[in-house]
């Protein structure tokens, strides 16, 4: 069933953001599409005790051979999909390496430590520059901003899925992801497909 060779086995993808953004949803859609293509996939989720507002990460490990553990070893990420800028940098600090590819949504979500004055949110431009320096390639996708234009920040998820598929870093294409997307959002199929296509367009413009 598996058609495409992997650039590396296992291929290690991290999806990161803040609780409530839709991290788990993205990992589930990508994971399901990969399993249907015949890959062995392990998805590990790390989220704190609260429903929202904490740092979250999903580790997606893709293999043609075996079931890997739900933890990517330190320094071994191949792709980082960052839904929030400082969370992207947090992941690079632990899992990055000179070959890592990064997609970043540059919309900050401030933590209560920042709003409460105990911590400082870094300058956004400098932050994106740092992410670029630590990645072999970086794509900046204004997913939240684009999603708001479409009516709700929640469409950022489909935009980012479109972007990661459009980047070509995963062994998936539009045909394999679209059905899963439709099953996941049966009430909002049209807008989510539009958002997905917008993500693909945005990343192709950056190439």
């Amino acid at each position: 069933m598996t058609t495409k060779q992997l650039a590396k086995d296992p291929l290690n993808l991290i999806i990161t953001g803040v609780g409530g953004q839709g991290n788990v949803m993205i990992s589930l859609i990508i994971g399901n599409a990969l399993v249907r293509e015949g890959y062995s996939v392990t998805v590990g989720e790390t989220y704190g005790a609260s429903q929202r507002g904490g740092p979250v990460m999903s580790h997606v490990r893709i293999s043609k051979e075996t079931q890997y553990s739900p933890f990517i070893p330190d320094g071994c990420a191949d792709i980082i999909l960052g839904m929030e800028p400082v969370e992207t940098l947090r992941m690079l600090g632990r899992y990055g390496n000179p070959n890592v590819l990064t997609i970043i949504n540059p919309r900050p979500i401030y933590s209560i430590d920042v709003t409460g004055g105990q911590a400082e949110y870094p300058d956004l431009d400098k932050l994106v520059q740092t992410v670029k320096k630590l990645s072999a390639k970086t794509w900046v996708i204004n997913a939240t901003e684009e999603a708001q234009k479409m009516g709700s920040p929640m469409f950022a998820n489909a935009i980012l899925i479109g972007a990661v598929i459009g980047s070509g870093v995963l062994p998936l294409d539009k045909k394999s992801v679209e059905p899963v997307l439709c099953e996941t959002f049966p009430k909002e199929i049209k807008t989510n497909i539009e958002a997905f296509n917008q993500g693909m367009r945005l990343i192709k413009q950056l190439r």
């Binding site: 803040v18 409530g20 589930l28 994971g31 990969l34 399993v35 015949g38 062995s40 996939v41 392990t42 998805v43 590990g44 989720e45 790390t46 704190g48 005790a49 609260s50 429903q51 929202r52 507002g53 904490g54 740092p55 075996t66 079931q67 890997y68 553990s69 739900p70 933890f71 070893p73 330190d74 320094g75 071994c76 400082v86 940098l89 947090r90 690079l92 600090g93 632990r94 990055g96 390496n97 000179p98 919309r107 979500i109 401030y110 933590s111 209560i112 430590d113 920042v114 709003t115 409460g116 004055g117 105990q118 911590a119 949110y121 870094p122 932050l127 740092t130 320096k133 630590l134 920040p153």
Partner: protein, 645 residues
């Protein structure tokens, strides 16, 4: 949630460990499932309940773990295969029943208990290990090492349980329970189930069928015979296996998710032909012959397991019983300090242990890059402390509690327990909660504090519990407070769902696990019937909530109840649009010049209230704000304004 009832044998699906367990139960022809929701176990019953009607099984959210296990045993006594699932620590609530159930034996229906542990206490109050409890209670125990095994083992346990006549336990951990992986499906049975409590044991016996633990020494003897039978089954189990060379430099002995970490570590270090892995799926009773046949593989044995040294101690104890001519390897693990005795493991920690023992160096990435990346993350990434969601009723409740305690002026305080509201131990709940232990524990502790008047104690005591926790573990504590006239206020945070674990219904919601409407067990009617004075508040009405609490504190006369009623914002937000559009009037907000010292952003700590550094004023993050409008009542300038949306 995945559809666990998909009729597609042989296909591979992406299932969460919990869904795989539920699917295994379906493939085993389960008829009855009961659980109390809790991390990391909730999706087992959740996914079974979601297909209950179409599969003809019965699934319920029980009021607590003890009732869930007892109800499942009842089904087994009437010949129906039954499963009870529980969270981290849930088994403690059931242990009294279990100590008797293992003696009485089960009915004709196989009976399986699934206990999900949470190493590192990621969403729990402690990281207790269930495995020693199985050993202590003589319950045969297995642990899946991946998602496929989670399904296959569950199915297998029902057969074993019926054949041997005892309860079997499957232990899982967060990284299996809540992770997802490939599961190849098996057949779903199409058998009719009939329940009947058969009271005639056999025609020759004069005694009717009776499930009881007595006579105890004799029953205990029978239990040991059952454990021996289980051991024999375990010796031949395909869930125990060895992977590696015939003679190894190091033998890893492992189980559960650590089996995945161990394989990752050996592959990462490219040591497949030097390091062997002995993976155990059946943990207790120990498959001694199987273990013995592999112990000679290496002079060095490393135990890779999380939390307690369960395999380490069981195997060392077994080795001590072997003749002196048997191989005596050097053991590494928690005792030697090579594996941490607390916290969860991961591939890196196993890599470190192997490298230490074999004298290897491991560097996953370029050193210069490593320094740069770590320094950048350290200097640029701010902390992200736990907080209540935007629009959470608990934030408003704790704001009112904080102000009421201050106005009362007697240094009153709050006892609490586990739930979303544990966040009030920290800044997001204004550090209001001062004790936190088990479910309902705060109400019990308050009972003692409320009786200290004769020793000069006059501080008001408020015990907070969630609505689901109220039904689960608080009612006896409240009865005690009324009977013994203990002075405390039980504050029930009624957000109309078991919110922290995924909004499951409970007896106060009028809805069953299978989505059927049912009778509402009214918490206020129940409390009033016990003789408690009960007040109901809307926490979003800060003024009324504060004055109500103040009034109640001023009164003595035994335990009282304040119900804070407001639906969880995550539930409301899924059904309805935000009620208000909230904005900061930049003319009225005078920023640092105001005497409030940024009360809204620095103290109230709603994630939607942010500080616009350039303007030096407060601002609403419209992506996060849910339009509850509570912050409009805390701004001394009246600069936060709400308009009906």
């Amino acid at each position: 949630m995945a559809n666990i009832n998909i009729d597609a044998p042989g296909t591979s699906q992406l299932f969460m460990g919990n869904e795989a367990i539920a699917r295994g139960a379906l493939e085993a022809g389960i008829g009855f499932a009961a659980a109390y929701p809790g991390t990391p176990s909730s999706e087992i019953l959740g996914s079974l309940a979601s297909v209950a009607k179409e599969t003809g099984i019965y699934a319920e959210w029980s009021v607590n773990e003890k009732v869930a296990m007892e109800a499942a045993a009842g089904a087994s006594f009437a010949g129906i295969r039954a499963l009870a699932a529980m969270k981290q620590n849930g088994i403690n609530v059931v242990s009294d029943f279990l100590a008797n159930l293992v003696m009485s034996g089960i009915g004709k229906g196989g009976l399986v208990l699934v206990s999900c542990d949470d190493p590192s206490a990621i969403s729990s109050s402690n990281e207790q290990d269930t495995r020693p409890i199985a050993k202590w209670l003589d319950i045969p125990l297995v642990e899946p090492g991946d998602f496929q095994e989670a399904k296959d083992m569950t199915k297998w346990l029902f057969d074993l349980s019926e054949e041997i006549g005892t309860l079997f336990m499957l232990r899982s951990v967060t990284r299996i329970a809540h992770a997802r992986g490939n599961v190849v499906l098996g057949e779903l049975p199409k058998k009719e189930r009939r329940a009947y409590f058969d009271q005639i044991h056999d025609l020759k016996s004069v005694m009717p069928t009776t499930f009881m633990p007595v006579p105890s020494p004799l029953r205990h003897f029978f239990l040991h015979m059952k454990m021996d039978k289980a051991r024999q089954k375990f010796e031949a189990s395909r869930f125990n296996r060895y992977v590696g060379p015939d003679k190894a430099d190091l033998l890893i002995v492992t189980c559960g998710s650590c089996w995945l970490y161990s394989q990752d570590a050996v592959k990462t270090l490219k040591l497949e032909d030097k390091v062997g892995i002995l993976k155990l799926g059946t943990l207790w009773p120990l498959p001694e012959k199987f273990v013995e046949s592999h112990l000679g593989k290496s002079q060095k044995v490393l135990f890779v397991e999380e939390i307690d040294p369960f395999l380490e101690r069981s195997i060392m104890e077994f080795v001590a019983s072997l003749p002196s001519t048997s191989p005596r390897p050097t053991f590494y693990g928690k005792r030697s300090g090579h594996i941490n005795a607390y916290g969860e493991l991961n591939p890196d920690l196993v890599i470190k242990a192997i490298s230490n023992i074999l004298g290897l160096t491991y560097q996953p990435r370029d050193a210069e890059y490593s320094d740069k990346a770590e320094a950048a993350a350290k200097s640029h990434v701010p902390e992200r402390s736990m907080t209540f969601c935007a629009g959470c009723p608990h934030r408003a409740t704790f704001w009112a509690i904080k102000n009421a305690l201050k106005l009362d002026g007697r240094n009153g305080f709050v006892t609490g327990d586990i739930g979303c509201y544990s966040i009030a131990l920290g800044p997001a709940g204004f550090f209001q909660v001062r004790t936190m232990h088990c479910m309902g524990g705060g109400a019990g502790v308050a009972n003692g504090l409320g009786k200290l008047g004769q020793f000069g104690f006059n501080q008001p005591v408020l015990a907070v519990v969630g609505d689901s926790t109220f039904y689960h573990a608080t009612i006896p504590a409240l009865i005690n407070g009324i009977y013994n006239q203990s002075d405390f206020i039980l504050v029930i945070l009624d957000n109309s769902a078991t919110a922290m674990t995924g909004f499951q219904p409970h007896p106060g919601t009028g809805m069953t696990a299978m989505g059927e409407p049912t009778k509402v067990v009214s918490m206020e009617a129940l409390c009033r019937s016990l003789g408690a004075r009960v007040k109901v508040c809307d926490p979003f009405d800060l003024k009324h909530t504060t004055t109500t609490l103040l009034d109640m504190m001023a009164e003595g006369g035994g335990a009282k109840v304040a119900i804070m009623r407001r639906q969880c914002e995550l539930v409301r937000g899924k059904k309805e649009k935000p009620p208000y559009k909230v904005q900061v009037d930049t003319e009225k907000c005078i920023g640092e010049a105001c005497g409030c010292d940024r009360l809204c952003t620095r103290v109230f700590l709603c994630p939607a209230l942010i500080w616009d550094k350039k303007a030096g004023k407060s601002k609403i993050d419209e992506v996060i704000c849910t339009g509850c409008g509570v912050c409009t009542d805390i701004c001394p300038q009246g600069a936060i304004i709400k308009e009906a949306a």
